[in-house]
């Protein structure tokens, strides 16, 4: 469900690639135009995401009260009382309308699973997920493209084959499985790193000490999450470079007698980089989804685990809140990617600037 919402966002925010007219307008203007277009589109995307998710969750059997009484039991009177208190005795349409009306006032509502305002619940988890996702993305993008350059510098060589096959093998490993292996090796047997959590519990550490503590806790989950997606960047970089080697400008560069190192980095790799930036935007959405599993295995209190709890508890407003925040996150990231594009590639957004 969440993945669906993400992909909708992803697809809709990538429809601009075909504007080709060359322009010499300022990159800044193009960026602003992009921004305006994106923001208008985003509102509709978000509305579709919210209504779609609401209907999907409504279609799931059982409601928040059913999920609650699993652990408590209770008689008919108590169940009726709960349904009434949690507003579940109203019709679906009324609840959707109420939710949208509250949303219009920037109110995400009240979570019945946590008995707290949803805004607080999400804000508490958001930084954790952002750190986890950001570090993992940086790892997979950085290491992936670096290894991709290494492999793509000599397509078809042994190191190319080795890296390509190796990264694919990692990509094929399920996230939780890799996570558990890492835990057994590094936390249980070697005891180099903590087993899970985001920081040492109830340790009262502050400042730099706390940051270092969080960093050590992040090593394993970030590796598990990042290493898997590394293959994507590696393969893409390598393929792009293999393609670029055959282009005339490479031949020209060679003919000019440029050092090989310079040809690889400044000419071949640079040309292969653009699709990777696109991938980075798309990938950020997938990372949010992939972190559900990793967050559970490593007991990291992030948005992914919260979403899982919201579904299990049939807490519709909470799940909608998470989806909304995630969707906004994905839109913002893609916007940044597009902006980066506008700077990297002069063709993007140029048609409107010229008109």
């Amino acid at each position: 469900m969440i993945a669906l919402a993400y992909s909708t966002v992803g697809v809709l925010s990538f429809e601009n690639e075909s504007s080709f007219a060359p322009s010499y307008g300022l990159a800044m203007t193009r960026a602003l135009i992009l921004l305006r277009r994106r923001l208008v589109g985003s509102v509709f995307v978000l509305l579709i995401v919210v209504i779609g998710s609401f209907l999907l969750l409504e279609a799931a059997p059982g409601d928040a009260v059913d999920a609650y009484i699993v652990s408590t039991g209770g008689d008919a009177g108590m169940i009726e009382l709960l349904r009434h208190r949690w507003g579940l005795d109203q019709s679906e349409l009324t609840r959707l309308a109420n939710y949208l009306w509250a949303l219009l006032h920037l109110d995400l509502g009240h979570s019945v699973t946590f008995s707290r305002p949803i805004r607080d619940v999400i804000l508490e988890r958001l930084p954790t997920t952002l750190i986890l996702m950001g570090s993992a993305t940086a790892l997979s993008f950085g290491l992936g493209s670096a290894l991709g350059i290494y492999a793509g510098a000599a397509p078809g060589s042994f190191r190319d084959r080795f890296l390509s096959v190796g990264s694919l093998a990692l990509y094929a490993v399920p996230g939780f499985c890799l996570g558990l292996v890492l835990i057994v090796v590094f936390a249980v047997d070697l005891r180099w790193l903590p087993i899970g959590g985001i920081e040492t519990i109830a340790s009262a550490k502050t400042g730099l000490e706390r940051a270092a503590d969080i960093a050590t806790h992040l090593v394993l989950p970030v590796s598990a999450l990042g290493v898997i997606y590394l293959a994507l960047y590696l393969r893409m970089m390598r393929a792009g470079m293999a393609e670029a080697w055959r282009q005339d400008f490479v031949l020209a560069a060679r003919a000019r007698g440029l050092p090989r190192r310079r040809i690889v980095l400044a000419h071949v790799a640079r040309n292969a980089l653009l699709p990777l930036v696109t991938m980075l935007g798309l990938q950020s959405a997938q990372m949010l989804g992939g972190s559900v599993v990793i967050e559970s295995v490593f007991a990291v209190p992030g948005l992914g685990r919260l979403a899982q709890e919201a579904v299990a508890g049939r807490d519709t407003p909470l799940l909608l809140g998470i989806i909304l925040v995630s969707a906004v996150l994905v839109i913002v990231i893609n916007l940044l990617v597009d902006l980066a594009y506008a700077f990297l590639d002069p063709r993007v957004g140029a048609s409107e600037a010229g008109a």
């Binding site: 008995s115 985001i198 559970s296």
Partner: protein
């Protein structure tokens, strides 16, 4: 070799479960308790409401029972299986219309205010009776609580209520909350529900969502020299495999409620410094039950139900699914219950040939493909073992020509499908036996329960004789006579099979050797841990 291990373990665990109620007053008392230290415990879920007076469930007690105390706690060797907590004594009137509690003197709430009979009266009338999941049934006839002095509370009932029932309900249903904290505003919305205030050995200190709960020592606790621990920290570990790993890595010292999966226990018991403890849960017995929808015409036939009972190899279930950490069941009261259990009931030994004959007699001959009829089977998803038993049951039914289609749901969907929509033919459920059949056992077979009530008879079973027996027992005051009626109840249920009791099991704790005084009462995991200590 593996077979040998299983049978030895099975024997040990099985006999432990049976004997534990009498045999074990103490474990680990050889060392002298030490003071201080932080005990880190694995928690697999985060209850949304921590008020045990409203939500009487093990998930809540696990954390809150250290903060909020009950009037009495279960005990291996105390009179009537109880030992005093906030109440020192309890006495029922001969007419069943009142129960008098004498309360402990000098007890203070965590905020410093004195604990009095007014708090007990408030908790009983304003919380247990109208709001508590179990109290709404047990205390339904409670009309008033008189407080002649600060240390006496007299419960008054509109109808004669068996004192035995009230007594048996005390450990789980009688959490006392402070009146002065709850008297203003709606009780359900009180912030103290998420940061409880009580009289217990530990104060609620801190909760970080998704990370941990921290309880800190209550220096003013009424118990002599107690508590021993400075702090208890519950680390939230949602993934079951991580609890075992965290124990091995010495990041936590205790995983209760079978947080370590049964399949890992054999390995983990060999890790130096860790111990596997099967005691301390005798008062928290779960029953593995096949729930039956009697609206299906085949299942309304007693012979078919008997055939299904004969088709289940209880021994196999205990040894293979529960790896020996369970006991086979004979009826609706578990074998380890000291008051009510009787073995004198009809039994259904594993006998496939007999089961096939019974089905033939009932007129459900095998068709050409070998099948007699098809059933929809819904295993409850709450425990690994209920899901695994669902798979086993499907095979066992196939052997007698009954084709079972398994429908897997998550918890909320399962509750809705079985208890509201009745969209099942057979379901596998884990009801809890709470020390008295009237608390949560008789409703499994009683008729006339509205749709939507979970863990109750939603299979459309109706037996006027059994209903009359249940009604009579609920108003029989004499303990011996009442107990006899519940023995009769077990016989009738085992004879007519409104549901099939297959096995009964409880939980396992895994702890570091340094954790002392664990498992020293029948509800240890959900008791107050005042005497638990860490030997360093």
């Amino acid at each position: 070799m593996p077979e040998l291990t299983i049978s030895r373990r099975g024997l040990l665990a099985g006999s432990a479960l049976l004997l534990a109620s009498t045999a074990l007053p103490a474990i680990g008392r050889a060392q002298a308790p030490k003071k201080g230290g932080r005990l880190i415990v694995a928690a697999d879920s985060e209850p949304r409401n921590l008020n045990p007076a409203i939500v009487a469930s093990n998930g809540v007690f696990f954390i809150s029972s250290k903060v909020v105390e009950t009037l009495a706690e279960a005990s291996f060797d105390g009179k009537d299986g109880l030992e005093p907590r906030l109440a020192l004594s309890w006495e029922g009137a001969a007419d069943g219309l009142s129960v008098t509690f004498k309360l402990r003197d000098g007890v203070k709430w965590h905020d410093g205010k004195p604990f009095t009979s007014a708090d007990v009266a408030f908790s009983a009338l304003q919380v247990w009776k109208p709001l508590q999941n179990l109290g709404r049934t047990v205390f339904k006839d409670l009309v008033a609580v008189d407080t002649p002095d600060n240390l006496t509370a007299v419960f008054k009932f509109a109808k004669p209520t068996p004192f035995q029932l009230i007594r048996n309900a005390l450990p789980a249903l009688s959490s006392v909350v402070p009146k002065h904290v709850y008297e203003n505003g709606k009780i359900e919305d009180n912030p103290a529900n998420n940061a409880p205030v009580g009289t217990g050995p530990f104060k609620f200190a801190e909760y970080k969502a998704g990370q941990y709960y921290r309880l800190a020592k209550n220096a003013d606790y009424w118990g002599m020299d107690e508590p021993y621990l400075d702090e208890i920290v519950y680390q939230v570990l949602p993934d079951r495999t991580s609890a075992a790993a965290a124990l091995e890595a010495e990041e936590i010292q205790l995983a209760a409620f079978s947080a370590v999966p049964l399949a890992d226990l054999d390995r983990i018991s060999k890790v130096p410094g860790l111990k596997v403890v099967t005691k301390g849960y005798e008062g928290l017995t779960y029953q593995l039950v096949v729930e039956i929808n009697h609206r299906r015409k085949e299942l309304a036939d007693l012979k078919v139900r008997q055939a299904i009972a004969h088709a289940i190899d209880e021994d196999f279930v205990v040894k293979t699914i529960f790896l020996g950490y369970a006991a086979s069941a004979t009826g609706p009261v578990p074998k380890n219950d000291p008051q009510f259990y009787t073995a004198d009931v009809p039994t259904y030994p594993f006998d496939v040939a007999k089961a096939n004959n019974l089905l033939d007699e009932a007129g459900y001959k095998r068709a050409d493909d070998g099948k007699r009829f098809t059933l929809k089977l819904l295993p409850a998803p709450y425990f690994n073992e209920t899901k695994q038993f669902g798979d086993y049951l499907r095979q066992a039914l196939a052997a007698i020509g009954v084709d079972a289609e398994i429908v897997n749901n998550d918890s909320a969907a399962h509750i809705k499908a079985v208890y509201t929509d009745h969209a099942f033919d057979l379901a596998v459920g884990p009801p809890v036996f709470r020390g008295d059949p009237a608390i949560s056992t008789t409703i499994l077979v009683q008729s006339g329960i509205p749709d939507g009530v979970p863990f109750s008879n939603q299979g459309g079973y109706k037996n006027a004789e059994l209903d009359a027996l249940i009604a009579k027992a609920s108003e029989t005051l004499d303990t011996a006579a009442r107990t006899e009626l519940y023995r009769e109840f077990q016989k009738k249920v085992a004879a007519d099979l409104p549901l099939i009791n297959v096995a009964e099991w409880s939980f396992i704790s895994v702890a570091r050797d340094t954790v002392g005084n664990i498992a020293n009462n029948p509800r240890w995991a959900v008791s107050n841990w005042a005497d638990t200590y860490l030997a360093r």
